[in-house]
């Protein structure tokens, strides 16, 4: 029972981290109806940024978080200005392909800059464990949980309670109406990409601490897609619920089912997609997604 609780805690931390990555994805989708396939690569770059700040520059954890967030914000802005702006008004497929292109460029640049190596900064969040009754939680797990949860809360509050967040929600509703009300839609798009970059970087920082930064971190980041779809593409609370569902079910499945499998493992890499397929079969728009009624 205790081990199960322990697992649930680990899944909780993972799940909130997935939710952070998925948050950026959902915000871009809400504002501009673009599916940002490069979100997984934002996560990968976040891991490498964190490695640079924590291991190479020897910054403290909180400074590194701020630095990674700032880099993510700038990266998002640059990408939106250079690559995504020409895609406004183009068919949706072209915009999606452009995000794929961005992802490829980011993966190539990361390989070039960090040599495609497996960069480890394990233990920077502390190696001790905190005991809570019979549970003993590693410090890095607690740090992961706190950082991710804080990020989700901060960006949700920003979205719900600031004026610019209101502008973003208005743009999500109808960009032409928003524009005629005096909202700078271009600014909103830029901001959405900045948030995506920042959330990706934070998720990457946290995930990289646990499993190391490498080009394949982007595949872990891609679980954010599964999270976003399960939660429903338009919903920010949905992201959190789906993130927790997937994080916990993934870790339980990989602990209890992996030993039954012939090669004894690897279920964690596909389980989120299995959950996604099952949920999509029964609820095509996810837990909290808007069911769209289409007209010709």
């Amino acid at each position: 029972m205790v081990s199960l609780l322990q697992l649930v805690c680990a899944g909780l931390a993972n799940g909130v981290t997935y939710a952070v990555a998925a948050l950026g994805f959902v915000i871009i989708y809400k504002c501009s109806r673009v599916f940002n396939i490069a979100q997984g690569h934002f996560v990968m770059l976040g891991g490498y940024f964190a490695y640079t700040f924590l291991s190479l520059c020897n910054l403290s954890v909180w400074t590194a978080i701020v630095a990674a967030t700032a880099t993510g914000l700038m990266l998002g802005l640059v990408i939106q200005r250079i690559a995504m702006r020409p895609m406004i008004g183009q068919p949706l497929l072209a915009a999606i392909m452009m995000t794929i292109v961005i992802g490829m460029v980011m993966e190539g640049s990361a390989t070039l800059a960090w040599g495609g190596k497996y960069a480890v900064y394990h233990g920077t969040f502390g190696g001790a464990s905190i005991s809570l009754g019979q549970l003993s939680l590693p410090e890095e797990l607690v740090a992961q949980l706190i950082i991710s949860l804080l990020t989700v809360i901060v960006f949700s509050l920003f979205f719900q309670h600031t004026k610019i967040g209101l502008a973003m929600r208005a743009t999500a509703e109808d960009e032409q109406v928003a524009q005629s009300c005096g909202i700078k839609v271009n600014l909103v798009y830029g901001l959405a990409w900045m948030i995506a970059g920042a959330t990706g970087a934070i998720a990457g920082l946290v995930l990289g601490e646990v499993c190391g930064a490498s080009p394949s971190l982007s595949e872990i980041g891609m679980k954010a897609f599964a999270v976003a779809l399960v939660g429903g593409l338009e919903s920010i609370p949905g992201v959190l619920v789906a993130g927790l569902t997937i994080g916990i079910s993934e870790i339980i499945a990989s602990t209890y089912l992996d030993p039954l499998l012939p090669t004894g493992g690897g279920l964690a890499s596909v389980f989120p997609y299995l959950v996604m397929m099952i949920v999509l079969t029964f609820k095509p728009y996810g837990f909290f997604g808007l069911e769209r009624i289409e007209r010709i």
């Binding site: 895609m87 497929l93 490829m104 190539g108 390989t111 997609y273 996604m276 007209r295």
Partner: protein, 352 residues
Amino acid sequence: MQWDLPCGVFFDNYADDIALCRTKAQKFLLISFFAFLFVLPLLISDRWLSRLVLIGINIVSLHGLNLLTGMCGQISLGHAGFMAVGGYASAILCNMGLPFWIVFPAAGLVSGLFGLAFGLPSLRVKGFYLAMATLAAQFLVTWLILQAYKITGGADGLSVPRPIIGRMTLMSNKSYYYLVATVTCLVTFFAYNLARTKTGRAFVAVRDNDLAAEVMGICLWKTKLVAFFVGCIFAGWGGALLVHYYRFASPEQFTLMDSIMYLGMLIVGGMGSTLGPIFGAAFFKLVEECNMIIVSILAKWFPAAAPQLPASIGLIGYALIVGLFLVFEPRGLAHRWTIVKNYYRLWPFSYW
């Protein structure tokens, strides 16, 4: 049949009107093209031949992706996964000792059925949701290959024999080239004709607006599933040809990056046009060659970064090319080719 088309439609029966070769010039060009394909191995070196074989294999699987994504509008991020299914099916069946002429169609069929299973969500979800379902297919295939290591060899890969047709083993590049060229021509012919049938038109209607298509009496689920089935059969054949060519099958040959690369090739070539896959595959091979030259030059200038240069420059180069095409020529090389053709046809007059 005339040499050149007159200005106007003068066909007096339907058979002439829908014929593939409508003028003598076209017939002549087609026959000389086949003759050229036939004598080509005698003229070029083995290295170029292997490039041609790889282009042919890519064309076969790109035709599948073109039917699925370009014509029917169902974005597939798992094309390499579908190729892997065909490749492994062919490899395993061949290792069991079945003759190649049974194995090859069977591999296509297995891949097609697998694609059908992952196409089923397309009945309920579309657009990005479907793209994610195919992405799931990609990850699942890799995972299944690793899990079923007793049959597939897992991460170590599986050695595959070269195909035996009749009493001939296609060991040399030359003989394999003839196999690939035949399959490529047949698949191209089939894809070209499919685009002109009722089903092909239904694909385009579903891509442009599936709701409107349904209202006009097109059976959506049948059309989408046919697109998945045929597209994945072609993918499976491409995968089968690939593993038999390398005499080796491993999950490394069919990664997510490959799936994305195929989408990129399709965009550069031109989506929704039968010529697109051919242009795309050939152009990307060209880019690959240029890349190798650029990398070798850069490696001299920056020796420190030399080990990671090939992978990273390759990725960045491909991505930039696809990005530039998206911004400046979203309809791809096939559209450019149409413009050139029209210019030639109308030559002294510039309008059309």
